[in-house]
Amino acid sequence: MDLRFTDDEIAFRREVRDFLRASVPAAIRAKMIEGRKIDRDELTAWTRTLHARGWAVPHWPVEWGGTGWDPIRRMIFRDEIQSFPAPETLSFGTAMVGPVIYTFGSQAQKQRFLPRIADLTDWWCQGFSEPGAGSDLASLKTRAVRDGDHWVVNGQKAWTTLGQHADWIFVLARTDPKAKPQEGISFLLVDMKSPGVTLVPTRTIDGGWEINEVFFDDVRVPAENLVGEENKGWDYAKFLLTNERNGQARVGISKARLKRIRELADFPPDGAVAPLRNPAFRRRLVELEVEMRALEMTQLRVIAAERGDGKPDPASSILKIRGSELMQASSELLMDVMGPAAAIAHGDDGDDGVDWTRGGAATYFNLRKLSIYGGSNEIQRSIIAKAILGL
């Protein structure tokens, strides 16, 4: 047992940090700090900067643009990106459909899609959840019927994040209506420009437009866009959902937020008495810092276990729960630091450049989603009880 980073790892962290300092536009970093949205052009430009450095898809196989880094380096890289803070690449492409394609897709699919995912030529979105099937994915109703060399898709998807920018959507559709709920589902790649695809924005309580409903009305999808085997889509979906479980800890993002809280609480821009002069506030802040450190250490254990004997550390199951709770608690504290002015709702697009409370309450509202989606925290607890504790 050796619990320290190696010199190589420390040097690698420095290399990443230097790269970020040199490469992340100041305006982008400011937007990240203030919790404002990065637009499509900005994310595309940044993804290409990463791609040029060879770091757009570090966890992919080397032949498709990966770096060959071990899990520790991948974690260091992510932590530096998040805590800088800089944008992460679009997870629907790089972390979700990309790995499904390079693991289960045909050679033709790999050649066609992977390069365009890596440099964000194609913007992907996710078509899993449906209005009637939130946490209960197995009850989905969207269906695809074979017609010659096409699948004809009908149905409705909900909660499709950033679908408004998307070129492609990966869809779970029922292809065998007579099979058991979790069987008879296939994994399809659908061009958003296909006739019959309609996107309807869903405004969220923070006032933003992040999610959408996507309707499929006799949408014809070429048969070659089926990933893997027909009726095996559930397996690919499970692979996708567990693939980046570590990513759900979001330690670096919480770390960046805690830093911002400390800074604002020390010198509040409104000239108020500094909250940091209040011992009770300081306690509240360090309590979150301790939680952050505990989560960070837990993530290290999980990653070291990945690299070690390959047996997953059971502690990996707590990353989603504690990660989302810490994100929510830190966003609440950030809002509180802003005082009464947190009440003001700044539009997301406006940029008056002066208002330091922008994104405070809105982020707090928005992040309630974290304990709901990706398998609600209630479902995570049931998983721990059953899979780890054997109850």
Binding site: S135, T204, I205, A280, D336, A361, F365, S376, E378
Partner: protein, 383 residues
């Protein structure tokens, strides 16, 4: 001691419930929020017709002589329906300011117009650096011949763009945070030198920055002693904390009701999700939180008339603390138990959650009141 409503109080509650059901459903509320003003003069007229705009003023002044219990009843109903009209600010807070600060002539000049729904008078007492410290006032009031000149910026003025007049707190003497030397001045929104910038708030309302540049007012524009406005502000704040606590209880009650309904009807994994024990207990914990808040809102209401300043303020701080804790829990869990649907703008529960969140930001948040109460000898005293 008796917690039952009187016949009159029951009628008031019923008429408000009927009005809300008939005239202020969630759809209309959302449409009103989407207007530039974020409120509706037509609704205000309806409230005036119901007798609400004159409710807490003495009959002698032209009001209807309602007390804290009546205010509580109205605020609970306002909470349930998420009414964005400034009843809390332009009637409860302003009413308390006038009752405790203004002489009878001033009251006679203002109250009838307020009661008729014709005068919207709100307090412009916030400043950025002050946060919730009422005594922190940088805006200057300089004596001039026959009156005063006001200079400064007031922020977070509730529905400031729609108000007809403001009660502005301004410093007539002392340091920026001195409790002595604060005056309260009546200022017309349209007076020369007044400029107003309106902002939307997360709870669907509006607040304004009100800039005062060499604004002159007459000597008669002062409410009370020009150096001793602070106790008036403090008393009005205490009374308004009781009222806003009742609003929060109304919202929490509505959020719980909505959540329980949803749990009964929403099916996942082949059964109503309300059959899952974990969600049942969470709803039970929400119930406990609502009832604790209700108890403290009642305590605050019965303490409005308390003349001992420290006793009264302790009750208000304790109520605000309990309400803040309950509101966070109830609001967050209402979202959590609904799942994704509650994150959408079209669904009421997210707006209940947001208003609960913003209530914490008014008149001192959880930390503010905890710090204050912790600095006292507490609610129990030593053995």
């Amino acid at each position: 001691m008796n917690f039952d409503l009187s016949e009159e109080q029951r009628l008031l509650a019923d008429s408000l419930a009927k009005w809300a059901a008939r005239s202020y459903d969630f759809d209309r509320r959302q449409k009103i929020c989407a207007t530039p003003e974020g409120r509706s003069p037509a609704v205000w007229a309806e409230l005036a017709d119901l007798g609400l705009t004159g409710l807490p003023f003495a009959e002698a002044d032209g009001g209807y002589g309602g007390g804290p219990v009546e205010t509580m009843i109205v605020m609970e109903a306002i909470g349930r329906a998420l009414v964005t009209e400034p009843w809390l600010d332009a009637v409860v807070f302003t009413g308390a300011l006038l009752r405790h600060g203004a002489d009878s002539e001033r009251r006679a000049a203002l109250v009838p117009a307020i009661a008729a729904g014709e005068l919207l008078l709100v307090a412009a007492i916030g400043e950025p650096q002050a946060r919730w410290t009422l005594a922190d006032v940088a805006t200057r009031a300089t004596p001039i011949a026959g009156g005063w000149r006001l200079d400064g910026v007031k922020t977070l003025v509730p529905h400031g763009a729609a108000a007809d007049r403001f009660v502005v707190s301004a410093r007539t003497g002392g340091d920026r945070t001195s409790p002595i030397g604060i005056g309260l001045f009546l200022v017309d929104r349209t007076a020369p030198g007044v400029s107003v910038v309106s902002h939307e708030t997360h709870d669907g309302g509006r607040v304004a920055d009100v800039r005062l540049d060499e604004v002159t007012v007459a000597a008669e524009a002062v409410i009370g002693d020009p150096a001793r406005g602070l106790p008036i502000l403090e008393r009005a704040t205490d009374e308004t904390i009781a009222a806003i606590s009742a609003e929060a209880v109304g919202i929490m009650d509505e959020a719980l009701k909505t959540t329980v309904e949803y749990l009964k009807t929403r099916v996942q994994f082949g059964r109503a999700i309300g059959s899952f024990q974990v969600l049942q207990h969470r709803a039970a914990d929400m119930f406990v939180a609502v009832e604790q808040a209700r108890s403290m809102a009642l305590w605050a209401t019965m303490s409005v008339g308390e003349e001992d300043v420290v006793t009264r303020r302790k009750a208000m701080a304790a109520a605000k603390i309990q309400v803040a804790k309950s509101a966070r829990f109830v609001g967050q869990q209402a979202i959590q138990l609904h799942g994704g649907i509650a994150m959408t703008w079209e669904y009421k529960v997210g707006h209940l959650f947001k208003r609960l969140t913003m209530i914490d930001k008014r008149f001192g948040d959880l930390d503010h009141h905890l710090d204050w109460l912790a600095a006292t000898d507490g609610l129990v005293g030593a053995a």
